[in-house]
């Protein structure tokens, strides 16, 4: 046993049920008299709905109900924007069911409820919708011309604009020795948790209460929205997440289905289940990335960075969803990375197209901006004949400059501040671990007939913060067992383990005395959610603070029981001890037994519990380096990643096994996104990648060797534990490192993604010698 639980490589408590398939996921929920919903989705990218006739469908055997927007009537609601509420975006919200027009393939139009999912899908086949097909617009550039409007009545496809202006970029450009301008593009792809979305809604007419299973990520926020929509008091709505098979930013957001299924249950007074199938997931759940950037850089001849300017275009799809302008705005938020770039100017455009709405995907915007910046730095190094590593080292913010205030890079009242770090140290360790210098010789054509290259990217990633607080409630019960109730949800990361580790250390009990509960709005009235790598930062610190309060309470109760002064007591491994005395240890369980059986009114009440919130707007920043060694077959364009390293400083590691799992998993997901995955739209706005036959995820046979090095050199000064989030560092640098490695291998400049064989071949062909 390590001295502390924090830092110990403890296997996750969740593993057994996740790995052996014995978890309880939303589709495992089966309630008496439960019926099944299926959703009719638009087959058109843009069309006017002239008429919907549900009579044939309703007449089918086993069909319970078919409803359309008419039935929702005055309850009609829209998916709310919760973050990055740039002015103007609120005119582009998505209704629960399409109003008079459909604006992307996959938009919900009607709902069928039947005795089985099979019958519900049969009913969908029998709903007759009369569409008048309208012209669609699928490309951001075209959309900017406003010739075809996604929302006619708004008069423009430019839904919102956000400006960032720090220093005087124009002046810096005018005075610079060196400038370069490039256009970069990141393609559209999305998160594919193994478990798709799903909802079981059960309205109990007797109690007038609604229970919704399958909520995750933001159960309290979703409850707030749905309670208002259904005109029910919030405390009469109970949202439970069950086990969750991954989220990646996509799952758990509020979508039209989150209105429709509870609505159906209230209307019918029956439990209603809807499980998203993979086709629906690819069509209807948030898409992500797809941000284009015109980037300009200005520097001195010696490589000193002076300024960057950027025009950023987010392809928002047909409706602005819960994340508002987050994806393109986050691209702007950390575009300057870990570097000292005093002048920064950006204009961020949120542009509507006839596609599925854009939302977050693990390190949204940050993957994109790291790609743009790190590619640009490699180009600049080539232009100025500088070593790309030296160029970066020279411009890294130094420990002396930290905390380093970049300025107001987000639409928020808080400036972006790099809170702690030794950036040069992480770079040095990354290069050593990768044996970077030894690999200098292997650039270009090698004996195996392939072009080899090495690419590096440096990232910073905000973690925690964004929304102010999370809470924890802790109760001591029989035998000294401690129950920890979290306000935060879990998407599969391992809170049940990490939070128990944090609690055990702060409280002074053994970990096996602790049970962790989460993901149920009945456990705590308020809470935000699991995103932005904030779980350990926010909930971890809440647990820490609560445990300290509870410990005081326990010691006071023990002091009364023992008739000693509380200041002489402490709690160690579940025993109340009096250091420096001969007094025997009092096991916490004995104190509890006493309080339960024979506490007197003078001794108080048998209550040992505490609740505390960690409340902070401060954002911590992890940082680190990705390094990739790739080989490209010039004749087939096939790319192989031979070696991959992620180095990240997470401030303080709670559980190294879990951090490694997050890092490697994120890197696999990142590499998959850069090389394989793409949501492709074809003629008349049809999504062509609606199954895993065409949407290519990395599978176990495609994972390259991934090494990771986790550093703890710079604990965050912002929170008691000193932790930063570790969920995204493994993905942020993937596009940058791979883009640089392929460019390095082939002597070309990669400016867009994905790195598919067909595109790589096209670049080689364009080079003129292949």
């Amino acid at each position: 046993m390590a001295e502390t639980y924090i830092g110990a490589p403890i296997k996750r408590r969740e593993d057994v049920r996740f790995i052996t398939g014995t978890g309880t996921y939303v589709d495992d929920i089966k309630l008496p008299h439960m019926v099944h919903a299926a959703i009719l989705r638009s087959p058109h990218a843009h069309a006017r709905i002239r008429d919907i006739d549900t009579s044939r469908a309703e007449a089918l055997p086993g069909v319970v109900s078919v409803f359309t927007l008419k039935d929702i009537g005055e309850l009609d609601a829209t998916v709310p924007i919760r973050m990055y509420k740039i002015p103007g975006l609120d005119k582009y919200l998505q209704p629960s069911l399409a109003r008079d027009e459909v604006r992307y393939v996959g938009e919900p139009v009607a709902v069928a409820v039947a005795e089985s999912r099979y019958l519900a899908e049969d009913a969908l086949d029998a709903i007759d919708v009369d569409y008048e097909v309208l012209q669609e617009v699928m490309d951001v550039r075209e959309a900017m011309e406003d010739k075809v409007l996604v929302h006619e009545h708004n008069g423009t496809n430019l839904a919102g604009v956000h400006h960032v202006s720090i220093g005087d970029a124009d002046k810096a450009f005018a005075e610079a020795d060196y400038t370069r301008r490039e256009e970069f593009r990141v393609h559209r792809f999305t998160g594919n948790p193994m478990e798709t979305r799903g909802i079981v809604a059960h309205f109990d007419r007797g109690k007038g209460e609604l229970r919704v299973y399958g909520a995750t990520k933001l159960p309290h926020l979703n409850r707030q929205t749905i309670a208002a929509f259904l005109q029910l008091p919030e405390h009469k709505c109970h949202f439970e997440e069950n086990d969750v098979g991954g989220g990646f930013g996509i799952r758990g957001e509020l979508y039209p289905e989150d209105f429709l299924i509870p609505f159906a249950s209230v209307r019918l007074g029956l439990p209603v289940k809807w499980i998203e199938d993979r086709r629906e997931h690819l069509l209807a759940a948030n898409h992500s990335r797809q941000v284009t950037c015109e980037l300009e850089i200005a520097a001195r001849k010696d490589g000193t960075l002076l300024a960057i300017r950027a025009q950023i275009y987010g392809d928002m799809g047909a409706y602005v969803r819960t994340h508002g302008g987050l994806v393109p705005c986050s691209t702007g938020a950390l575009l300057t990375g870990p570097y000292r770039i005093p002048n920064y100017q950006a204009k961020i455009h949120c542009v509507m197209t006839n596609k599925t709405g854009l939302g977050t995907l693990r390190a949204p915007g940050r993957v994109e901006s790291c790609f743009y910046r790190e590619r640009m730095l490699d180009m600049m190094a080539r232009d100025l004949d500088l070593d790309p590593v030296e160029l970066r080292r020279k411009n890294l913010v130094t420990p002396e400059e930290i905390p380093y205030e970049i300025g107001f890079t987000r639409p928020s009242a808080h400036p972006t501040i790099l809170d702690s770090g030794d950036y040069a140290s992480a770079l040095r360790q990354a290069l050593e671990r990768f044996e970077y210098d030894e690999m200098k010789g292997i650039r270009g054509l090698q004996e195996d007939g392939r072009y080899h290259g090495v690419g590096l990217s440096y990232f910073v990633k905000n973690t925690g913060g964004l929304e102010p607080y999370e809470g924890a409630r802790m109760v001591v019960g029989e035998g000294g067992g401690v129950s920890v109730f979290l306000s935060i949800a879990q998407l599969g990361q391992g809170h049940e383990t990490a939070m128990a580790q944090i609690c055990a250390d702060a409280l002074g009990v053994t970990m096996d005395a602790i049970s962790v509960f989460h993901g149920n709005t009945d456990l705590s009235p308020f809470g935000w959610g699991t995103f932005a790598s904030r779980g350990t930062v926010m909930a971890g610190n809440a647990v820490h603070l609560t445990a300290l309060q509870l410990k005081d309470k326990i010691l006071e109760a023990a002091a009364r029981h023992l008739d000693v002064d509380a200041s002489g007591l402490t709690l160690e491994d579940g025993n109340i001890v009096q250091p420096g005395t001969e007094a025997p240890a009092l096991p916490l369980g004995e104190l509890v037994a006493h309080m339960r059986e024979s506490i007197t009114p003078e001794q108080g009440v048998p209550e040992l519990e505490a609740t505390a919130y960690y409340n902070s707007n401060n954002i911590t920043h992890t940082y680190g380096v990705h390094l990739a060694h790739v080989a490209v077959d010039p004749e087939t364009g096939v790319l192989e990643v031979l070696k991959y390293l992620v180095v990240e400083d997470v401030g303080r590691v709670v559980n190294p096994l879990m951090v490694r799992g997050q890092t490697v998993g994120a890197a696999v997901q990142g590499i998959g996104g850069v090389v394989l995955e793409e949501l492709v739209y074809g003629e008349s706005g049809q999504l062509l990648t609606t199954t895993f036959l065409d949407y290519l995820l990395p599978t176990s046979t495609d994972v390259p060797p991934i090494d990771d090095l986790v550093l703890e050199e710079a604990p965050s000064p912002y929170n008691p534990l000193g932790v930063k989030g570790a969920g995204e560092g493994g993905i942020v640098g993937t596009a940058g490192a791979l883009g640089n490695a392929v460019s390095n291998a082939l002597g070309i400049e990669v400016k867009d993604l994905p790195l598919s064989p067909d595109r790589v071949r096209a670049w080689i062909r364009a080079r003129g010698d292949g």
Binding site: R117, E635, L676, D694, T701
Partner: protein, 293 residues
């Protein structure tokens, strides 16, 4: 993603199966391993009203030697069974090398040889290999049997010569010629994916020169594509660099593939040529060692 309603039959004899098909005409469809058909049904892209499940029909699987030294493979033979057949590499090394390229082992555990051949995905390995090998397909209906060559079986994009009332029952593969050079190669996005481009080929040598050859590509058209012009170029020539380069050029010129989301037509043409050259070189380098009887 649930299939539309259908009636389900699971006959235990071939006679029963074909009479069910006879009875239901165009409404009936055969189910084998389900690896291609079930997804199509779940997406409601296929909506058969009657399913005739072959999985309980006896006598449709197995790998046997036929009279002339070739193979008779039951249509319901699982791809994995073929892969695991210890004698296959000696009896037909090209077929043996092709099977592991089909999907992943989980798919091959269920997927059948006949299912792959009738499904006729233009990027599938087995249709191309059976064309290259000059295999014959036995099609059985209530009225009896007929035999169609693999080359005549494939009629364009996912279209074949099989009739709605017929079951593919056996695949007859001619004897492997001693000393034959062969290779199969493909490029796919991920391991186990359908090929973007692939080639299966063999060459019979007369001393240092090629006497006869067959070059069949897959993933480059609606059906397996034989490039006879390239085969002609090989005949009488040594498999040297200059010839191989020529063959590459001819293949690239002859192919008329389509573009799709995974690769452009140009990519397929270029890489079709490249793979053919590489496969020929690999075949020549391997020589006749381990090339079967």
């Amino acid at each position: 993603m649930k299939p539309a309603p259908f009636e389900y039959y699971c006959p235990e004899t071939l006679d029963e199966a074909v009479s069910l098909l006879e009875q239901h005409g165009d409404d009936g469809k055969v189910l084998a391993g389900g690896q291609s058909f079930m997804p199509l049904m779940s997406l409601r892209l296929a909506r058969p009203s009657v399913i005739v499940d072959l999985n309980r029909v006896s006598g449709l699987d197995g790998i046997a030697a036929n009279g002339d030294g070739g193979l008779a493979i039951g249509a319901l033979t699982r791809q994995r069974a073929l892969e695991r057949d210890a004698e296959l590499p000696a009896r037909n090394p090209l077929l043996a090398a092709a099977v592991p390229l089909i999907g992943h082992f989980q798919i091959r555990n269920r997927g059948t040889v006949g299912g792959s051949l009738v499904h006729a995905d233009p990027a599938a390995e087995l249709p191309a290999v059976t064309v290259a090998l000059g295999a014959d397909f036995v099609l059985t209906s209530a009225g009896g049997e007929r035999v169609v060559s693999a080359a005549d079986f494939y009629l364009g994009y996912m279209a074949t010569a099989i009739e709605a009332n017929e079951v593919l029952t056996e695949i007859r593969v001619p004897a492997w010629k001693a000393g034959r050079l062969w290779a199969i190669d493909e490029v796919s996005r991920r391991k186990g994916d359908f090929a973007m481009v692939g080639v299966a080929l063999w060459a019979d040598m007369d001393g240092a020169n090629c006497a006869d050859a067959c070059i069949t590509l897959f993933g480059v058209g609606g059906e397996p594509v034989r490039v006879e012009k390239a085969e002609q170029r090989l005949k009488g020539a040594a498999l040297d660099d200059a010839t191989l380069k020529e063959v590459e050029r001819i293949v690239s010129e002859e192919l008329e593939p389509d573009s799709d989301i995974h690769a452009s037509a140009l990519y397929r043409r270029e890489v079709g040529g490249v793979l053919t050259r590489r496969a020929l070189r690999a075949a020549a380098e391997r020589g006749t060692e381990g090339n079967g009887a």
